[in-house]
Structures are given as C-alpha cells and as structure tokens.
Amino acid sequence: MIYLDHAATTALKPEVLDEMLPYFTERYGNASTIYSLGREARKGLDAARARVAAAINASPDEIIFTGSGTEADNQALNCALALEKKGKHIITSAIEHHAVLHAAEGLKKRGFKVTLLPVDEYGLVSPDALEKAMTDETALVSIMMANNEVGTIEPIAELAKVAKARGAAFHTDAVQAVGSIPVDVKALGVDMLSLSAHKFYGPKGVGALYVRKGFRVAPFVLGGAQEKNKRAGTENIAGIVGLGKAIELATGDLEARSQRILAMRDALIEGVITKFTGSTLNGHRTKRLPGNVNISFPYVESESLLIHLDFEGIMASSGSACTSGSLEPSHVLMAMGATHEQAQGSLRMTLGDENVDGDIVKTIEALGPIYEKLKAMSPLYQKGGKTLV
C-alpha cells in the first residue's frame, strides 16, 4: 500500500501511542480531582501543554485544548461575537477550510458582514487586498497559514500586521502547517492559531487553539471550568498527551523531515508533469507545503483516477476528503480561477514520513495506463489531440 493522503490524516506514531496508552488504563483519573489519580492526569495534561507551547514558541498558559482543529477554528471565529463593540464585520478568504467558512456563515446569520478575500492563480491572499477590505468595523480577520488542497503557504506575518494596524483581531488556521513547516506565533504576530493532532502523526479528535496572552478569547463549548473556563468538558487526557508527544516529534526534526519529503514532492511533480502532456500543477511552485502535490489531468475526472489508483493500492484524494460526498468542484480551485474541467480532474497526493522514493516511481508508473484508459473513454478527448465540446 502507498499512502498519499497525509493532508487528510496521518498514521499515529508508535511512540505517541506508547505515551497515550497508560492514560486509557491505570491513569484514568479526572484532571479536576485532588487525589493522586487526578493529579497524575493533571501532570500529563500540563506536560502536554508545555510541549505544545514549546513547539510554536508560545507559553503554556496560551494553549487551550479542544476536541479538533474544527472546534479550534469555530472557537476562534466565534470570538467575533465578543468583539461586537468594534464592529460586525469579519474578513476571511475564499479558500479556507469549511471549518472556517461555515463558522463564518454562522456569524452572517447573526448579523455579521463577511468578506471573502479572493486569491490569485496560485492561491495566494494579498496583503494589499486585505488592506483594502479592512474597515473601522472589522473585528476579526482569519486567514489560513497553509491550504489543505493545494498547499499554498500564505504570508501570515504580513497579513496579521495589516489587520493589527486597523485594530482587528487575527486568527490563522495552521492545521496543515504545524508539523510541516516552522510555526512561531510570536514571529507571525497572530492573536489565535488552530492546530490539530492527527495531521502530524497524533490522534484524531484533539486539537488546540493558541491564544495570545492579553487577548480575551470567548468560550465556545460551555459547561465546567476546564481549560480556565475557556473550553468546558472533561479533558481527553490520552488524546492531549498524544498531541503533546506528536508535536514534539514533528517539530523536533522538522528540517530533516521536510527536506526529505520536499525532495520526493518535487520528483513527483516533475515526473507527472513531464510524463502526462497537458497536466498542470495547481498551487504555487515554491510557496508550497513540502508534502503537497496537486495536479489537474485534462479530459478525465479525478474520482475515476482515484478508484483506479486504489485498485493499485495507492491512496490519494481529489481536493479535500470532506467534500468528496458533494458534486461541487473544489471551491479552492474555482477561487484560483481553474476551469470546471481542471477542477474536476485534480488529483491531490500528499506525502509524509513513511513514504520512500520508490513510492514516487511506482505512483508515476501506475498513473500511466490508468490515465490512458480513462482518456480513451473520455468524450473530451480525441486521438491526435483534437478535443470536442
């Protein structure tokens, strides 16, 4: 099996599982209790918080654990409700994950004006465009650090500066960035940042929201006093411990890991573009996550490519897994100005730690006959290169 869908999720590292396991069994205490069992859980929680903080250059009291990256995004966007005094306007981008876009929709229903910034053909958000969209009423700006479909890395430090200059809060969804590229909250100058454990070889269903000291974050899940009243609910200690270990591993040798993955990424891009006439790279050539490859194949639909690749034991994706149930072409590619056909024929292959050079060779080889077969079956393709319709 060749797994090329690391942007969807990653396999839990055995070292991470080892640290998690005791918290399912002997260390099952509730971290809010005062007896020894509870204190043990508390210790695990605190240690994880310190690890997350260290990984992104934050301090431990700036980290709130959440139930997912999605929840962290929702909590961040819902802070706009508490910033209403500033104004009822938020700005985000057209290529955000649905966790942000749908949370923004929710704010719209509560009377907020929502501006979706456009992107260029590479998926980049421009600080100038943000500057122009800012008004005195803009309470919050949320732009993702790296896009999950095309891997484009946004100029977050510049964008945050623009937002801050006009007194607006700034959030970034760094779910795809953390563990793949360096993330330093101080250098970025953001008020809030979301991350999710399962994107860097940690467990699913646990994430975190960084909140800059001095920024008043509003609770999103209401209930008990956990996470200093910022996120209610008995903590998922095992998951949080796993997040802590995973982020320490992923950021510990980030440079070496990402160099290796980036070399495979470039080999895959070059290999596919050279071999398949008309195929085009989606996203930016260099401002790109080290593991992301997203290529449009003319004349065919990506779902068909995916099923055939699956028959060959290769797991890839088209756009994002979350939208695979829908018929809409990728909102990200459409925002980048892709044609309908380009968007329908886009194949996303995201590389990670367990991939080796041989996977790249095998994938390019497997794509050959698959693409030929589907092309021959396509009404858009005529032998000799003449296209119909």
């Binding site: 639909e301 055939h308 018929l327 021959a376 396509s378």
Partner: protein, 123 residues
C-alpha cells in the same frame, strides 16, 4: 462507497469507445457536476446491434454507461426506450444517493441517441 458490481463495471467497462458512422448519437451534460456522456448506437431493422459510450465523469457515471449499454444491446429501439435510470441503478445493485443523478445521464444519452436515429431515419 461503491458496491462490487459498480466497481467491476467501472474497472472493466463494457462497450467503451466509438462507432464509425453510427445510426444515432446522444450526448448529454450534467448541470449539477459538469460531467458529459455520449452514447452511439448502430441500428439494423429497428434493433440495436451495437452500442458504445464515452464518459467524462465519476465512477458511477462510467459504471452506469457500461451497464446501460449492456442492457440495450440486442433490444429493439422501442424496448430500449423503456429502460430507465432506475433499472440501471437496480442492475448495478444500487448507487450512493448523491450519485443517483449520474445514472440519469445514461438514460438521457440513450434516449437522445434513439431520438437522433429516428429523426435521421424518418428524414
């Protein structure tokens, strides 16, 4: 998400290709997803003796094309007109709900091909 019958037809599609000088051709686009299907028929004595399809679409669309063309081969054009997308879906053992509309492409392309044949024939 797809059952074994659908995957089998997808993997080994029957009747993919073109017919030279067909008796009738039907081409339809799916407004919902932008996909396209073309079915060509060869008719002798009002009977479909050959049928071929080309599809730019998802797995369900390709499997539906394959199944629908199998179902009409050898049938008279009147019999072929009775075939609905529902029957195609049944023959495939079902499709995921959001993919039902993909089978409609097959019904429409087939009916258009027969209409095209009839028009040419009566002219």
């Amino acid at each position: 998400m797809y059952n074994d019958t659908v995957l089998e037809h997808f993997r080994n599609p029957r009747n993919a290709g073109d017919i030279d000088n067909p008796s009738g051709v039907g081409e339809v686009g799916n407004a919902a997803c932008g996909d396209i299907m073309r079915i060509a028929i060869e008719v002798e004595d009002d009977r479909i003796v050959d049928v071929k399809f080309k599809t730019f679409g998802c797995g369900a669309a390709i499997a539906s094309s394959s199944m629908a063309t199998e179902m009409v081969k050898g049938k008279t054009i009147d019999e072929a007109l009775q075939i609905t997308n529902k029957q195609v879906v049944e023959a495939l053992g079902g499709l995921p709900k959001p993919k039902i509309h993909c089978s409609v492409l097959a019904e429409e392309a087939l009916h258009l091909a027969i209409k095209d044949y009839k028009e040419k024939h009566s002219a």
